[in-house]
Amino acid sequence: MARELQLMKGNEAIARAMIASGCDGYFGYPITPQSEVMETLMAEKPWETTGMVVLQAESEVASINMVYGGAATGKKVATSSSSPGISLMQEGLTYLAGAEIPCLIVNVMRGGPGLGTIQPSQSDYFQSVKGGGHGDYQLYTLAPASVQEMYDFVFDAWDIAFKYRNPVLILSDGAIGQCMEKLYTRDNVARWSEEERRANAPWGTWGKPAGRGHNIITSLELDSARQEVFNHKLQAKYAEMKEKEVRFEALNCEDADYIIVAYGSSSRIAMKAMQMAREKGIKVGLFRLITLFPFPTKQLAEVAKRVKGILCVEMSAGQMIEDVRLATQCGVKTEHFGRFGGIIPTPGEVLEALENKIIK
């Protein structure tokens, strides 16, 4: 598929990007609102064109462990699910992080807790960036706010995953997953040849050449001294991500008296609220998080110095706001506004919250 303009759903964009970015395998289990990812993969039959494997596993637990097995060989392997399914994968995620296996996980969030609702939500922020599984680990977490970003971030995910030998999470939600927008597709990137895979993943379990030691993929280390050294190595990796891989978008923040901080579909709603506020003469900016981990701490702190108040908008009871307050050292009035349980706030509600909670 050459670069062309299309109209498609966010979920479909994820699937097409996987194929176009040279993904070797996808293992998943259907769940609303992300089922179109696997539906699209099955309809496209990439095993007949690029040779990519697409397999419906018996459960999310099986999917994530298939990812572990496939990705341990240095191949580009992905899975996707929605909130309850991602909860089932948490053990696998911490093992992947602990074994330093690059891979891609997509969470198209729905309302919780529990089975919750199938409507959009953003209440998996804590799960995504504060652990979820056990141990001191982080997932590099990207929050797309458009169908185009759903597509582009899959390509970016492989770069980060292999550069840092770390799982990458694309944290989306049912609104972006189900929404259709314009999309410019890219030229296909060929799947890695055997030689390329060995060069890009020298640590992988792709066979032992004579003269080289065994490549062992494990998250088990019973010697605590060594495990501490390993943990320091992980922390150094996360510190490097914080230094080099932070992404955000600041819109109208230069002259803003107030800013809204948001990510994903909430940031789109907030953008409209910002426009409505500006029409009323209120100088509002939007600070959109693109990476949730690493969090743009320094960059947000810099903007926050110049404003009178910050409204955090998230389809949750207030999760991201904790990191916003940490970034600004609570130096500026910061409040949360959110709808949750599958309700999407309207731009009017966001503006009202800004006026009532921050400006008044």
């Binding site: 409507q119 609104a175 189900q178 259709m180 579909s265 709603i269 426009q275 309207t346």
Partner: protein, 183 residues
């Protein structure tokens, strides 16, 4: 130009595909577009709706609750969305199955008897295009040639032989729509 539209009716009436054809036509005319469906339990219960935005500028929120135009194909949707039309906006409804008509005086109300006309002509499958034609008569936001391209992109190639019928239905709709005076 920004046009924010809600299309709402029963599942099976072609609500989502009407929105998709309109949106794809917008893409072909180099507009910014978004298409946001209801996919929740309401869809499973039989009603369906989709918000379509067509604009010359970057679209902020694809999720909206105030509309320039509401295209309404059943009573539940009329009850739900009549109040969401912006003052001065447009409400189009098909009178089929409507027991109480819209009452607002600050919006422009039109009706299009598309269900009856499509049945009469034996073209019920393209009923939704009759409705779309009515809308395009009042708000020609995408040109005819791009509608053709939108149809090509929205329909699988095996159904391209149906494109002329779809285009005829659009023309029928243009002649069918009529204003409603709220007394």
């Amino acid at each position: 130009m920004t046009e924010e539209i809600i299309i709402a009716g029963f599942g099976g009436q072609g609500v989502l595909s009407m929105g998709k054809i309109l949106a794809y036509s917008g893409v072909m005319q180099d507009k910014e577009v978004s298409w946001m469906p209801s996919y929740g339990p309401e869809m499973r219960g039989g009603t369906a709706n989709v918000s379509v935005i067509i604009s010359d500028e970057r679209i902020s929120s694809p999720i909206i609750n105030q509309f320039d135009t509401a295209i309404i194909l059943n009573q539940q949707s009329l009850d739900k969305f009549e109040a969401s039309v912006k003052p001065g906006g447009l409400l189009i409804f098909d009178p089929n199955g409507i027991t109480h008509e819209p009452t607002r005086k600050d919006i422009n109300i039109y009706k299009i008897a598309a269900t009856a006309k499509a049945q009469e002509l034996g073209i019920s499958k393209v009923f939704n295009m009759v409705v779309l034609g009515g809308f395009l008569k009042l708000k020609p936001i995408v040109d005819k040639q791009y509608i053709h391209e939108g149809l090509e992109h929205s329909l699988p190639q095996r159904h391209w032989n149906l494109i002329p019928q779809n285009e005829e239905a659009i023309e029928i709709g243009k002649n069918l729509i009529e204003p409603v005076q709220v007394l």
